[in-house]
Symmetry: C2
DNA sequence: ATCGACAATACTGTTCACAATCACGAGGCG
DNA sequence: CGCCTCGTGATTGTGAACAGTATTGTCGAT
């Protein structure tokens, strides 16, 4: 009810297919086929491809068509670095602006996350993680940074879905989130930015670890 | 000869018209008129409008057409904050990767900037400023962050062109750039990031100053 | 004179057909 | 046997016409 009108566009649908992995990296995106898949005219499909190219989810070569973008681990690291810089900014702003009710809500989400970790409920934890970020987005009220962050999260989605499966990772992630929330509740922008950076730095470390373990190239 | 093929697209031309101010904020962008201005078909024009909307230079309302985006001072500040976070990252990476020849080039550019300030040559200084950023972009080798920065610079172009005209501003800017270059030459990522942040923080301060001086709204 | 219905206008959004381009493979030629 | 040339098919890129929608101007009633 709070949302007045979410008329999912063709672009939204196509993006969803990509970030959820139903259209895998390297897959060809033929305009005519997408018209059926998305139930839209070729014009709308073309427009969607142009948009998603700007978002970094799709590559297009002249006269050769579009494919789902293949993002290397090196690029995933860059994406997360950029996210780190921007989310630190968001956290700092949130720390400056959070009022009493905001703080209560953040602590409530955190407590639920803690519960989800104890019971090993990954799906629930991931969902709460989204809630937390959503709260930060709202509180920070930093449209520009938040828009860029949303884009970057989509881009790296293919690499980050594995994070939750790492043994011991949820516990580590939880303590980091706790540090972030505490800094914001304390109204300390510097600490909030630092805690957020620390969180994403640890994500980057995991990615780097994989870079060493897995085959370097395809 | 060094550039193999720069076939300026319709999008590039339209973006140029906007960032240079030849198409002012709020101006209506009628597709049919743009076909003549850009020498392209309506399809290409539509595509360009979609792209520039994603870049934040244009707003489009359903069935009501597109206009040049009006970016408020508050938004310009947000844009510069995001730039600050990302350019700090770029500077840090540059500090880590710069080799001997990179350092020489940076110092050469800096020396020329100093000369341009002494002779009061604003145009030359602005040009060298671009050169410096271009060097950082190359040295840092951080595709993701640099792409976002380029976008943000375009967005705030309408507000930043006035900066150079402020009395005493070039001198202040020069010492800040010197600090950045010195940190990179010293190979100190933390210092480089800090110096870059300080530079853009001072830009933000100027914007905030204007926010108080000028009429809040149009 | 003010307001509402209603027609005229000016666009955008969509569809269709066709031209342009590229990948692939067959066939000729050294 | 390798390489170049030339069809052929698939797919993108483009132009023109048409439909849909918001805005503006007009006219009559009150």
């Amino acid at each position: 009810m709070t949302e007045p009108d979410p008329p999912l566009t063709a672009t939204d649908r196509l993006r969803h297919e990509i970030v959820t992995g139903r259209l895998g990296p390297g897959e060809r995106l033929v305009e005519m086929q997408l018209t059926e898949l998305l139930g839209a005219g070729r014009g709308a499909v073309r427009s969607a491809l142009v948009e998603l190219e700007k978002e970094g989810l799709v590559t297009r070569e002249a006269n050769r068509g579009a494919t789902v973008r293949r993002v290397s681990l090196a690029e995933a690291i860059q994406i997360t670095e950029a996210r780190s810089a921007l989310e630190a900014l968001v956290a700092a702003h949130a720390a400056e602006r959070a009022d009493a009710s905001d703080r209560r809500r953040l602590q409530a989400v955190l407590k639920e996350m803690s519960r989800a970790v104890r019971s090993g409920d990954h799906a629930r934890y991931s969902e709460l993680n989204s809630s937390l970020h959503s709260e930060l987005r709202r509180i920070s009220d930093h449209t520009v940074a938040n828009e860029l962050v949303a884009n970057l999260r989509h881009r790296a989605a293919g690499h980050e879905y594995r994070l939750a499966l790492m043994p011991g990772r949820p516990e580590e992630s939880l303590t980091q989130h706790r540090a972030i929330v505490e800094a914001i509740v304390a109204g300390d922008p510097e600490a909030a930015a630092g805690a957020m950076r620390a969180h994403l730095t640890s994500v980057i470390d995991v990615l780097r670890h994989w870079a060493r373990v897995e085959q370097p190239a395809v």
